[in-house]
Symmetry: C2
Subunit: 493 residues, 2 copies
């Protein structure tokens, strides 16, 4: 079953992305964002960042930083429209931008559910198991954060053990949480060791990602700015993502939430280019809405679908790769989790996303990761990839002769035209159960959840870690041991 | 809950439909279809139809009919690009074509599941209950066939009793099965009575739909052609739909399956216009694929998504309204049923469908209708409709002032900008459960299925039939009584 997956390959978005606002409306959002940046400004809660902003011409007043339109456009234009990220396994290197799409696993869930146990706090065993799934499913291209937080590992050393697990259980691109400069430095060094390269080579080869969230509205926190400084200065990948929930941290109107998203994103992107011109950066959109009755965040909604499309329009306007997400707010891996997810995928993919965060395993508005949802999503991502394969139209595929040969009331099963193609013609799902009712009934009426559960067990039971040069592994072990002995990092962030 | 639904309103497809093949590729499919029609031809299993085809210039040889490209283009061009359908309740009249979208219920399932009982053969009680749901949910715009077949009503009189139920439990546009001329005539008469109009008025006001399936490959059966003759001659709505499953009744290549679909559809559309120039007709696409291991039909697949988009490109090329469908192959109302459905919706909606068959309640490749899936789908259709509302971009919605007022680290909940808009800002779902985990857990961890089940009960328990003029109701009763006494129709179709 799992060995029959399509090989690891990034899809290419060959369809024209959908415009959910007109070009004029897009310009109106752009100009409104520039007004916000020039008139209200953004708080940057880091003195080093403010000094760099001031030196580059931003207007700094206490924590507040204001940008002229020209300053934003000057620095945003320095960011590359695409770049490569290098994985431990070169077969898992990624191209980010242009028409390429990269699918990420879920990241940062504090809880975990499934694999035979109820929802529980994140822990290292589940973290490791989810990494095994991330490595197994070829439709998961990178792991941009802990699929679930290993809370049972002390925060002072969590990044050390978790990164060790990531680089010994997967050979895909990984991530560092920007929660203080030393964490960035530790994981940068572990990435260098795991890839077996020098510091100079690392700075030439983006190999590590970090997600930088604006604390919407209009604030970049200290640790996030430290993260940009450490990562961008070393030419590593920064994904700027404002968290603009319309009605809560952002205006209730979609145009207003997008204005705020865009203002925050532009300020963040511009800052990365002040740190290092040409540093790889991704424009992130995460605008959704809250349930106005309860204040609960909602995902995969009609509002999400449209703002995901506009996010792509904005990113393309600036020539930046675009991050969107596969999200839902369901507590159970039921129909809701699936339809909200595919609505989110609809918006993200038709919005032209290049970097699909939380592609597999995200549940409950991000509050838990699910084994079974990760398997179902891995299948959905394969379906999306297959959907993004062009239809081949030529004399052979138009099949006029085959149609003539079969004629009225005939059947195509036995024709040579079919025989020549049947093995590769259609996507074969991992999870979907297409058996007829009687056979399915006799099998005990398994649902997609149960099928996904058995596939998760199969993947984890049969897991073989990817090859890692023993000397690199020893060096990683020694680095972790030393840094743990030193007490890790401060945890008063 | 149910009273808070958005009012009955057809969405408008304001987004640019997605092109899944280039314009040149589309022309290649078009020309290949014309070659099939000119060289291989199609069997028309009805002498009256063949005579009419011959009289209009088609080449008739036994059952086989061949069309020149000019003949096809001449007659297809006579079909209207849009038209209205009149419902019993004028508030439920529909516009078919242009950028309008109409959402249909499921139709023609032989089995039914849910509402507290396992999968069972279709019957009148479930049929009536599903009609009640069709009437209740404002996102279901018409009922183009029996949501489930009332198999316990004898086939000779089923159409009489079922149509009586449809016109007393709903006031939305309905349907007649083209299974022999007399059925068409009976239901046309019942439609005339229910609408309280004359035969001449009925012929001026399309009020009834029928689905005409080609028996792919390349055959129109006798009863289907009788249906076109009776319906098109009276200016009623014919939805031509080839059933082209790639790998079975159609070539295994998507381009080939689309070529066959298009050939069959064009022949059917042209024939409607020979019966009556200007008669309302819809171009239907139903190309999917089979599981090549088992031969089972698959729906909501990556193949379906793309062919649904191309179907729209073809229909628009001919200036015809486009029918697509909301389909899945799941046995259970689980994640699979939902993700396959939304993949199908993605293809259909981005393909620019005007007439979405099986919009609510279809399961198991059409082999059963589900109460709970109908409720979930009704919610999905509302979500699609909301997704098709343009984002309003103006000074007020861009919210630059509101953003300035709130400033960094603030919150938008309490602002006047939010207060002025919170009631209507976002879609409020019927089914999705956005409660936090603890609350949801205390409530017994209900899934979407359970929520949908309780909504189905609520809708049916609180159902009030729509108003129907008592004299029309009596006339319908008398008509049914008379026709039942006469023995109904022959059942040797």
């Amino acid at each position: 079953m799992l060995t029959e997956q399509a090989p690891f390959a990034q899809p290419r978005m060959w369809l024209e992305p959908t415009k959910a606002v007109s070009d004029d409306e897009l310009e109106a959002i752009h100009h409104a964002s520039l007004r916000v940046l020039a008139e209200t400004g953004i708080d940057f809660l880091n003195a080093e960042a403010r000094a760099l902003l001031a030196a580059n011409g931003a207007e700094v007043d206490g924590d507040r930083v204001r940008f002229s339109a020209e300053l934003i456009e000057q620095f945003v234009s320095l960011a590359p429209s695409s770049f490569s990220i290098h994985a431990l396994n070169p077969a898992h290197d990624l191209h980010i931008g242009d028409q390429s799409v990269a699918f990420c696993s879920v990241a940062s869930a504090p809880n975990v559910a499934g694999f035979g146990a109820p929802r529980r706090a994140g822990n290292r065993e589940d973290y490791q198991n989810l990494l095994r799934l991330c490595q197994t499913f070829t439709s998961i291209h990178l792991v941009p954060g802990y699929p679930v937080e290993p809370i049972d590992v002390h925060a002072s050393v969590r990044h050390l053990h978790a990164t060790f697990d990531a680089y010994t259980l997967t050979d895909k691109v990984n991530h560092v949480y920007s929660l203080g400069k030393q964490r960035n430095l530790d994981v940068l060094e572990m990435t260098r060791i795991a890839r077996g390269i020098t510091e100079d080579e690392l700075a030439e080869q983006p190999s590590l990602t970090t997600i930088i969230n604006a604390s919407s509205p209009l604030r970049y926190d200290d640790v996030m700015l430290q993260g940009i400084i450490e990562m961008s200065s070393r030419n590593q990948v920064v994904v700027i993502t404002p968290f603009t929930l319309a009605g809560a941290m952002a205006p209730i109107t979609l145009a207003g939430a997008l204005t705020l998203q865009n203002a925050e994103a532009l300020a963040g992107v511009a800052f990365t280019q002040m740190v290092r011109a040409g540093a790889p950066v991704v424009y992130g959109g995460f605008t959704s809405n809250v349930d106005m009755r309860s204040g609960a965040p909602a995902f995969g909604t009609p509002e999400y679908l449209r703002t995901a499309m506009v996010g792509g329009q904005l990113a393309r306007r600036y020539g930046l790769p675009y991050r969107s997400s596969n999200v839902n707010a369901a507590n159970a891996v039921d129909a809701q989790s699936a339809y909200e997810s595919v609505f989110a995928l609809w918006g993200a993919i038709m919005g032209g996303t290049n970097f699909l965060m939380h592609g597999a395993g995200w549940m409950e508005g991000g509050l838990h990761a699910s084994y079974e949802k990760m398997v179902i999503d891995a299948d959905l991502l394969h379906m999306v990839a297959r959907s993004l394969q062009p239809i081949i139209v030529d004399d052979a595929t138009l099949a006029v002769e085959a149609i003539a040969e079969v004629g009225p009331a005939g059947h195509f099963f036995g024709t040579q035209h079919t025989q020549d193609r049947y093995k590769e013609a259609f996507y074969e799902p991992l999870v979907s159960d297409w058996r007829n009712f009687e056979t399915w009934d006799e099998a005990g009426q398994p649902t997609a959840f149960e099928k996904a559960n058995s596939l998760a067990h199969l993947a984890i039971d049969s897991f073989t870690p990817p090859a890692l040069d023993p000397s690199r592994r020893e060096e990683l072990e020694a680095f972790v041991a030393r840094r743990v002995a030193e007490g890790g990092v401060e945890t008063d962030f």
